[in-house]
């Protein structure tokens, strides 16, 4: 399904910042990672490990200080519609209705009128929001807002889907449903997904591979292949293999959480 044999090539990314009240901090230290086209890749780690920073660098939202990130479109230097993003807090345009939000990116692509309407409706339907086209985001639950945000991003048909803890603000049941639906959509579209989370079970459930990241300075400590996402078995969460994997990954993360805590995060 992928448009080329190119996923995301991250090479030697080092990124630091100076917080308003403190000494310069290295958020990412010489991170290299190769993500295959069509891969569902999770960035997993404690808060402050730089996983969101890495995602934002792939998105082109922050200036790369050192190293390179390459996609099918070449070197990343600024945001572009080939890399769609979904944030934890949805970042919908609150003054636009659901369908106006979804149409925004389409109009930027030059798709207007009834074709934009049709495509927007298609993606709203895909995330099960039909009937809420004319609702404003503030009139929707958190889960529905995130559905709208996902529809808005999918509508521009990006090669790469960047997701920053997209289900972190949702309640447990909604989160589970959204995870399953995301997998269904991913299987149907074959997009490359980079998914940031601190939830081990979520990463194991969703990802082909998991980058387990270390606490500050952020590094990729281990690469784990999970691949439970290829199964459409709804009871996969209960399987011993799944739980063993969660346990195993959790052991890797635990050290990092302890370290992060020792550093005061």
């Amino acid at each position: 399904m992928s448009k080329s044999g190119f996923g995301i090539e991250i090479e030697g990314i080092t990124h630091g910042y100076v917080p308003r009240s403190g000494k310069p901090t290295v958020a990412l230290d010489n991170v290299s990672l190769s993500i295959a086209p069509g891969e569902f890749h999770a960035l997993l780690g404690p808060s402050g490990c730089g996983k969101s920073t890495l995602l934002f660098l792939i998105g082109g939202f922050q200036k790369i200080q050192q190293g390179t990130i390459r996609t099918a479109r070449g070197l990343v230097s600024e945001p572009g519609p080939d890399r769609g993003i979904v944030f934890q807090n949805f970042a919908l345009f609150p003054w636009k209705t659901v369908i106006e939000n979804v149409r925004y990116g389409l109009e930027k692509k030059g798709i207007k009128g009834s074709e934009a309407e049709q495509r927007a409706k298609h993606y709203i339907d895909l995330v099960h929001l039909s009937g809420f086209e004319k609702a404003f985001p503030t009139q929707l639950s958190g889960g529905m807002q995130q559905r709208a945000a996902i529809a808005r991003t999918l509508a521009i048909d990006p090669d790469i889907l960047l997701m920053d803890e997209p289900f972190g603000a949702l309640d447990a049941q909604t989160r589970r449903i959204m995870q399953e639906e995301l997998l269904t959509i991913w299987r149907g579209t074959g997009k490359t997904v980079v998914f940031v989370t601190h939830d081990v079970a979520e990463a194991v459930f969703l990802a082909d591979r998991i980058s387990v990241m270390s606490a500050r300075p952020g590094r990729i400590k281990r690469l784990v292949s999970a691949e439970f996402n290829r199964s459409a078995d709804p009871t996969i969460h209960k399987s011993p293999a799944f739980n063993d994997m969660v346990e195993q990954v959790w052991e890797m993360v635990r050290d990092e959480v302890d370290q992060a805590r020792a550093q005061g995060h």
Binding site: F56, G59, G60, F61, E78, P79, G80, P81, R83, G84, I85, F87, N89, A91, L92, F93, P94, W95, K96, Y104, G105, K108, K109, F136, P137, T138, Q139, R152, T153, I156, P158, L162
Partner: protein, 247 residues
């Protein structure tokens, strides 16, 4: 309607109290003409056309000053919010002049621009400029950066992000600031005309006061009050309409 009548009932009481105090002679009728006399004077001013011509003169100047201030203020405020050197250049000036009552500049502006329309328009402009700058600046600064990132990844240019995302997102704060500016508009409109004018509502108030035509003076004050109130209500209704997406 019933609700409005209920809300503004104290105003009726105030008018009655005014009438009684004046009629009873507690306060001399010269100083406080009875409400009914003021109403009669108001009717006279309406019939003579004085109110209309002077009101039009005032509101035209005020509106021009207000619109110019909003335009220039939005530009400067946006510059401050988006471009660091613009901020460094303008912010100290805005801060220094913040506590200065703009009416203190009336004599100076008279020297600069004379008695014509320009002086009053300029004073209204000055009075409204600061709230317009600050509302734009604070509004744009307060916009969630992720909204802009979303738009950029959806294909918007930087300029489109400012116009199509940041300004709409800043609209609630912008409108709050413009409401303040609207109040300053009336303040400067009347106070400037009290000092330097040959027409206008402020001029009427001053002139009637000098002549000892107190019923007419009170009538004009009431008109200014009513205009200010109606403008504010109208602005609020417009705000509610523009912000109907808010919960």
């Amino acid at each position: 309607m019933v609700r409005a009548a209920y809300t503004y009932f104290p105003l009726v009481l105030l008018a009655l109290l005014w009438e009684v105090i004046s009629r009873s002679g507690v306060i001399s009728q010269d100083m406080l003409p009875p409400f009914s006399v003021v109403m009669r004077a108001l009717w006279g001013l309406i019939q003579s056309g004085d109110l209309l011509s002077n009101g039009t003169a005032s509101l035209t100047r005020a509106a021009i000053g207000f619109v110019l201030a909003v335009g220039v203020g939005a530009l400067l405020g946006a510059g401050m919010a988006l471009i660091p050197w613009v901020y460094r250049g303008i912010d100290p000036i805005v801060q220094i002049f913040y506590p200065l009552p703009k009416s203190a500049l009336i004599p100076l502006v008279l020297v600069w621009f004379g008695l014509g329309d320009t002086s009053k328009t300029f004073l209204v402009f000055l009075g409204c400029l600061q709230p317009a700058i600050l509302a734009t600046y604070n509004g744009l600064r307060g916009v969630d950066v992720l909204l802009g990132w979303s738009a950029r990844s959806l294909g918007a240019t930087r300029f489109q992000v400012v116009r199509e995302v940041m300004f709409p997102a800043a609209l609630p704060q912008l409108l709050t600031g413009l409401r303040t500016a609207l109040a300053f508009m009336f303040l400067l409109m009347v106070s400037s005309e009290l000092v330097i004018a040959t027409n206008g509502l402020g001029y009427l108030i001053g002139n009637f006061g000098d002549q000892g035509s107190y019923p007419e003076m009170f009538a004009t004050i009431l008109v200014v009050t009513a205009l200010g109130f109606l403008a504010d209500r109208g602005f609020l209704a417009l705000s509610d309409h523009l912000l109907r997406w808010r919960p």
